[in-house]
């Protein structure tokens, strides 16, 4: 059996481990366009900011590929997919596959319509790879005024990194508050205030229109609102899009990302997708959405690997989830924390502690949960959301400090703690040869 995996990050890595847990003989080829040792994309900001030692960002040891008997093609880019031939073109070379996993992740999105990006290209960066971090860490030595476009997770983490490097940081965001997808207005306010304590300046409900400077040196940016702000380095961090452009005209059904079923199968035979490029089931809305987070990518990679190796593992579906820290604020959020009409909200805010807990309910089921600083046991809410538990019997204790398994109905509590079986992977009893 020839397994080919495109993408050398979380999804690909867990797929390799999953395949090997079932099949020690099949050949695995792993193609990644970076030459770096297998590293965690989530830690490049801490690395840039000098917060962590480089040794802490690598996901596995050097012997990982040998141990897993994987042929690694590093620094190689998959250019074309030939589904009818069961083959892939990688830097001109054709590689055949019996099972293919597309774990190609996302690419940073650069918005159109900003004037001057080409002119000042030595001062404009996106920040999604370790190579970006290495480059920036050299470059930033001579720069002082950093402007980050986008106050989503990547933008805010980038800003945080530059703060730790002692730079003057400004963040520009189109939405009316920072972290618009992960947080609600109150939590965003807390984060913004915390960052402002570190002298970060925010311009919300705004965007960058034009870059200004002389002789190729960036001096300032003009915002949509008309304000002009000084800048000598411009980081674009408004988001990533699934890296699927190269899959056009292959017949693969894509939407925002590659659409997958509960076995991580795409619309093409023997082709699977997982991770930031895949669009799988989101449990709260019931529709398929790209959820670009590590736990989802890892789980999808694992499930894809199992299915590729003949096990009929089912992906139960995921929800948006985030764990972030800015300053003193540790934050965990699940689902959709900005309530809509018809949804019920319960929350508690301890101002002196900056501790905030909020639950959004719909039909007595949790649709969103947000925790700022009070993050102990937050994971129980993941269970309640993903298992669609009716919380009305214990709604009044959800936000208490004491909330724990004792508050849950006996059947749920027993289901959780009388077994080691995993909730997220309920394998079928027999292996099924995929169609």
């Amino acid at each position: 059996m020839e397994y080919v995996i495109v993408g050398n990050s979380f999804a690909g890595m867990f797929a390799v481990e999953a395949i090997r847990s079932v099949d020690r003989d099949g050949r695995i080829i792993l193609i990644g366009d970076e030459t770096e040792r297998l590293y965690s994309r989530a830690l490049i900001h801490e690395y840039l900011g000098g917060l962590i030692d480089e040794s802490l960002i690598y996901l596995r040891d050097d012997a990982f590929y040998d141990r897993m008997q994987v042929t690694l093609l590093a620094g190689r880019r998959a250019e074309k997919l030939l589904p009818d031939d069961h083959a892939l073109v990688v830097d001109g070379e054709t590689i055949g596959y019996d099972k293919l996993l597309l774990a190609v992740g996302g690419a940073p999105f650069v918005p159109p319509g900003i004037d001057g990006l080409e002119k000042f290209k030595d001062s404009v960066f996106t920040f999604t790879r370790l190579s970006d971090a290495r480059l920036l860490s050299e470059l930033v030595k001579g720069r002082e005024k950093i402007v980050v476009l986008g106050a989503g997770l990547i933008g805010m983490q980038a800003a945080d990194a530059f703060v730790h490097l002692g730079k003057d940081v400004t963040v520009v965001e189109l939405a009316d508050h920072v972290l618009p997808l992960a947080l609600d207005e109150l939590a965003a306010q807390l984060v913004q205030e915390e960052m402002e304590l570190a002298n970060v300046t925010f311009h919300t409900s705004d965007s960058v229109a034009r870059l200004n400077g002389k002789a190729g040196k960036l001096k300032s940016l003009t915002l949509q609102s008309g304000k002009e702000i000084p800048a000598d380095l411009f980081v674009i961090a408004i988001g990533v899009r699934p890296n699927i452009g190269w899959l056009k005209d292959t017949g693969l059904i894509v939407d925002r990302g590659i659409v997958v079923d509960e076995h991580m199968r795409t619309s093409l035979d023997d082709i699977y997708a997982a991770g930031d490029c895949a669009q799988g089931l989101e449990l709260i809305s019931g529709s398929r959405i790209v959820l670009a987070t590590i736990p989802i990518a890892s789980e999808q990679g694992m499930i894809a690997g199992l299915n590729m190796a003949g096990q009929a593992a089912e992906y139960q579906g995921g929800i948006p989830l985030n764990a972030l820290q800015f300053g003193r604020l540790q934050i965990i959020s699940y689902g959709y924390v900005k309530e809509r009409k018809g949804q019920e909200v319960i929350s508690v805010f301890n101002e002196s502690q900056s501790a905030y807990k909020k639950i959004v309910l719909e039909d007595n089921r949790i649709a969103g949960a947000l925790f700022v600083r009070a993050i102990d046991r937050a994971g129980l809410f993941r269970y309640l959301i993903e298992e669609k538990v009716d919380v009305s019997p214990f709604k009044n204790v959800l936000l208490s400090d004491d909330f724990g398994p004792a508050a849950l109905p006996t059947t749920i509590r027993d289901e959780m703690f009388t077994t080691r079986r995993s909730r997220i992977h309920r394998p079928a009893l027999q292996t099924v040869s995929p169609a």
């Binding site: 830690l43 985030n322 764990a323 993050i375 724990g404 703690f417 080691r420």
Partner: protein, 175 residues
């Protein structure tokens, strides 16, 4: 693989399991010094109102952290700890692979590698992980610490919590 399973109907909310866990994981194995001289951590029982471990530590008495935890609600009690899930959500969420499964099947953390990002706390549907702020691998981040969860007492035949429970409300068995 044997793991610890709570029998909630037998729990009397005494918390001796937590105390035994603290003593077993201490350096001196002495109850008094284990509780006062070794850890400067956050004790969740007394941390009401303090969301941040570091602040709680300063305000409340310092005390080491237990890996199992008794939860109480009206008249129902249960002590829970890491189940060493067959497919571990925390391992799938770990940002840098610090969480892993060892040869015996236990889910463990490499305390030198953990950066305290708390993705595991987010991911663990059973609420089994807490923040150990005694150890920090990223000192520049406020309240940093490392993952802290049940390790099934590798130096004991029977985990300390199981051994000490006065009503045998914790079972150590294969299921």
């Amino acid at each position: 693989m044997k793991a610890v399973y709570p029998i909630a109907t037998r729990c009397i909310d005494c918390h001796l399991c937590e105390i035994a866990c603290i003593i077993e994981h201490s350096q001196t194995k002495s109850p008094v010094s284990a509780h006062f001289l070794e850890g400067l951590q956050f004790n969740w029982q007394l941390s009401r109102g303090y969301a941040d471990p570091a602040e709680a530590k300063a305000a409340v008495r310092p005390s080491p952290l237990s890996r199992c935890r008794v939860s109480a609600n009206s008249f129902r009690f249960i002590s829970t700890m890491c189940r060493h899930c067959e497919v571990a959500e925390c391992v799938l969420a770990c940002k840098n692979g610090a969480l892993y499964r060892d040869a015996s099947g236990r889910v463990l953390v490499n305390e030198k590698k953990c950066i305290g990002c708390w993705m595991c706390i987010m991911a663990c549907s059973y609420g089994a992980i807490t923040r150990n702020i005694d150890r920090q691998n990223v000192p520049g981040v406020a309240g940093n610490g490392v993952n802290h969860h049940c390790d099934l007492c590798p130096n004991r035949r029977t985990p300390a919590c199981v051994y000490v429970c006065p009503t045998q409300a914790l079972a150590y068995e294969e299921r």
